[in-house]
């Protein structure tokens, strides 16, 4: 396990642990960055944890291609199916909760108990969103009583490929809180992990890969948030961007770039977000379109 202790040399006679090479997650596979670059990830005290892949703009583009390819199948899956898969993610996470607690503790400099609590909250968040898959359409859609002989129904639909800049200050709970609402409704995602604390995100990819989630629905990149955010914000085949993990100044630039193909933009909250609080619908509805279908009523 990748705790700081595990990464130091063992005491005499103790077992030498097996370190993990952290990789990106793109299109259901685990590539290194095509650039061959890595960067050092340290714990809160500055101790080396791992060499994480430093994804390039080419990796970002590959991730968008994978996400686009996965969109038809994922958005076309039944809501029940998507809900089951999100719940499966929770099940798989539960089985590895100690590993994730250790990674979160190392990444965020938290006590064991606090890290455990945040990990548990992240698991519970998957469960919460899993349940929304087949309910959100009833809450935000519905029939419209038009003044004429017409059937008229409004339904939410996923907007497409969503680029997600994960929060920098909550490596797992924040990540899950921005990722789950994007995919539960049928969007596919390219996620940029917290720059200095990417390991929980990269490990989460291993969970996603074993949760029946089709490859490409979630793609996880680690590296420089600014470096990866720019090509994603400007990408013509990305439909929306969540700027949760962007600093204010680059966020403005990214929003401007996103206007080129009128991406839906979720701005970072200036006052920060309490990731432990119940999320509400906003992170789902921000990436939903409303489609309204008319048909005449008559014999």
């Amino acid at each position: 396990m990748s705790t700081p202790e595990a990464r130091t040399s063992p005491a005499r006679g103790a077992r030498l642990s097996v370190l993990k090479t952290y990789k990106l997650y793109v299109g259901g596979t685990f590539p290194r960055s095509e650039s061959g670059r890595v960067y050092e990830v340290t714990d809160a005290k500055g101790q080396w944890l791992a060499n994480a892949p430093r994804a390039s703009r080419k990796d970002a583009r590959d991730a968008v291609v994978a996400a686009r390819k996965a969109f038809g199948g994922w958005s076309g899956a039944t809501a029940y199916n998507r809900g089951q898969i999100l719940y499966r993610v929770a099940e798989m996470l539960e089985g590895r909760r100690e590993q994730f607690a250790a990674e979160v503790a190392a990444a965020e400099g938290l006590s064991k108990a606090k890290a455990q609590a945040r990990t548990d909250a992240a698991i519970d968040r998957w469960v919460w969103y899993a349940g929304w898959s087949d309910k959100v359409a009833q809450v935000v859609g519905g029939g419209n009583p038009v003044a004429g002989p017409f059937f008229n129904l409004s339904t939410p639909e996923p907007t497409g490929v969503v680029a997600v800049l994960a929060p920098q200050n909550a490596s797992l709970l924040g990540l899950v809180s921005v990722l789950a609402p994007v995919i539960v409704t049928g969007n596919t995602a390219v996620v940029v992990a917290a720059q200095d604390a990417p390991l929980p995100a990269l490990s989460l990819a291993e969970v996603l890969a074993t949760s029946d989630l089709p490859g490409g629905v979630v793609n996880v990149l680690s590296g420089g948030t600014a470096e990866l955010a720019r090509p994603l914000a400007a990408h013509q085949d990305v439909n929306a961007i969540d700027l949760a993990g962007a600093d204010p100044e680059p966020a403005t630039e990214l929003e401007r770039a996103a206007a080129d193909n009128l991406k839906r933009v979720l701005r970072p909250a200036p006052e920060g977000v309490d990731w432990a609080a119940e999320p509400g619908l906003e992170r789902m509805t921000a990436f939903l379109e409303t489609k309204t279908v008319w048909h005449p009523i008559g014999a």
Binding site: R256, V265, T292, V293, H295
Partner: protein, 488 residues
């Protein structure tokens, strides 16, 4: 226009005599000021511009040209009014909106004539579509004003503040209603900029606000051009921007508000596909095709400007379509028998002309019914292009005029792929008798509004807005309120 244009025996036998609506129901003043803080006033810079009837280029009135100082004064007035307006009980705001709806109904004949004069669209449309929908919109949102806690924005939703609203010239008063009604119901105050070529109905609406006793500053109207709109959108004390217009300007606005806390909704261009299957009720489909592209001279963002017809019925549909187009009456917008009126401006006419020429140059085949156009004013004959390829400009770019591009398909999959193959995603039409096919296609089309076996239907309860580069946010229905409320 008249009998000889159709050339058919039937219309010679049953010809139409002119049936013009009387202009005397509307009294247009020689000049209008800006409507700020409940009063009409000259622009600070003293500049004016004229608005003309596109049907004959007659000057209708002179209108104040608002600039940054005027925009600032209007936003200040709206900001000052916001405190009391937003604090008013919802039931009181509702009653103001109900009053406005009623006065619109009372004055709808006058407003219909005014709109037809300033815009050039047929009186039959302003009378039967625009004005009834304007009143219905205010009626609908009036009822929301005291029910906001049921709107899905939390138990105690808050208005955003001053809404900057910029509306287009194709449905001047209807777009005003789409913007102002939900904004006021939610407790916001408004600065609205009407389009440069169609400012008059918004100024008449200012008078309706006065008749309704609406508190000063709640609605402000600043007339002008693109620069006026840019000043309004960029004003720092605006907290909500709503724009209907071109995708290019929409993108510019999105860049302007980047990094601010302004909420933005955009209702932009489209290149709607009207998909006709071989099993469709073809006579009804032809009516839908005609209404889809020639309603309001095709100057409609959700127009069905691309006809996708199944190969097996291509010739049959085209024959019927051409037969039908020969009976369209193009001419005097005030004539109650007119089907197709004037193009709104010389600038728009030039754009339509340019794109139609590009269609010919790229190899599509152009056809128009025999059609005598008036000598004065801006006119464009209903036009159909066949043999259009997906890469042609007339298949990709919004023409915003009475020009239909016809493409063919063989399978439903091909129809969907072609329909979705533009940067836009506002509207689509499906014509088939097969219910399961309608529902499947409706799911697959990336468009905000899908009309099945009908087209161009609108209702205040029904959310309207686009996917992709057709913009974001919805207008109409409960969804339309969300754009003007802060979750709380």
């Amino acid at each position: 226009m008249n009998d000889q244009q159709s050339g058919s025996t039937t219309s010679t036998l049953f010809g139409y005599a002119p049936a013009p609506e009387s202009r005397s129901v509307v009294d247009i003043a020689p000049s209008y000021g800006l409507f700020i803080d409940g009063e009409f006033r000259e622009a600070a810079g003293g500049k004016v511009f004229t608005t003309r009837s596109p049907a004959d280029e007659e000057v209708l009135s002179e209108v104040a040209y608002g600039q940054a100082d005027d925009v600032d004064a209007a936003v200040r007035a709206a900001r000052a009014a916001f405190e009391t307006w937003s604090a008013l009980p919802g039931t009181e705001r509702a009653k103001y909106l109900f009053r406005i709806a009623r006065i619109v109904q009372e004055r709808s004949r006058e407003l219909a004539v005014l709109e037809t004069l300033d815009n050039g669209k047929p009186i039959r449309e302003t009378r039967d579509a625009d004005l009834p929908l304007v009143a219905a919109h205010f009626f609908y949102y009036a009822g929301w004003a005291d029910k906001l806690s049921y709107a899905g924005c939390g138990p105690d939703p808050r208005p955003l503040g001053v809404a900057a609203q910029v509306v287009p010239w194709n449905f001047p008063l209807l777009m005003l209603a789409w913007k102002i009604a939900p904004a006021l119901a939610a407790g916001n105050t408004v600065v609205l900029k009407p389009a440069e070529t169609t400012p008059l109905s918004a100024l008449f609406f200012a008078d309706i606000c006065r008749q309704a006793g609406l508190p000063k500053g709640v609605v402000n109207i600043v007339t002008g051009d693109g620069a006026t709109g840019a000043a309004l959108v960029g004003h720092p004390d605006v907290h909500k921007v709503a724009f209907t217009g071109s995708t290019a300007v929409g993108k510019e606005i999105a860049r302007t508000v980047a990094g601010t806390d302004k909420r933005l909704t955009l209702e932009l261009g489209g290149k709607g596909a009207n998909i006709v299957f071989e099993d469709a009720p073809l006579d009804q489909a032809v009516e839908g095709i005609v209404g889809g592209i020639f309603f309001n001279q095709g100057q409609v963002c959700c127009a069905g400007s691309r006809l996708l017809v199944q190969e097996s019925v291509h010739d049959e549909v085209l024959d019927a379509l051409k037969r039908r187009l020969r009976t369209l009456r193009v001419g005097d917008p005030l004539d109650k028998n007119t089907d197709v009126g004037a193009i709104n401006s010389a600038e728009q006419l030039a754009r339509i002309t340019e794109l139609a020429e590009a269609g010919e140059a790229e190899g599509a085949e152009r056809w128009s019914p025999p059609c005598e156009l008036p000598e004065r004013g801006h006119w464009f004959a209903p036009t159909v292009f066949t043999g259009v390829g997906q890469a042609h400009r007339i298949a990709q770019e919004e023409i915003f005029g009475p020009v239909l591009s016809v493409l063919t398909f063989r399978t439903p999959e091909e129809a969907v792929a072609k329909a979705n193959n533009t940067p836009y995603g506002l509207s689509a039409g499906i014509w088939t008798e097969k219910g399961s096919r309608i529902l499947k296609l409706a799911n697959q089309l990336r468009a905000g509004v899908v009309w099945a076996n009908t087209f161009n239907k609108f209702d205040p309860t029904s959310p309207f807005g686009g996917y992709k580069e057709s913009g974001y946010g919805r207008e109409g229905g409960r969804h339309g309120l969300e754009a003007y409320l802060e979750h709380a």
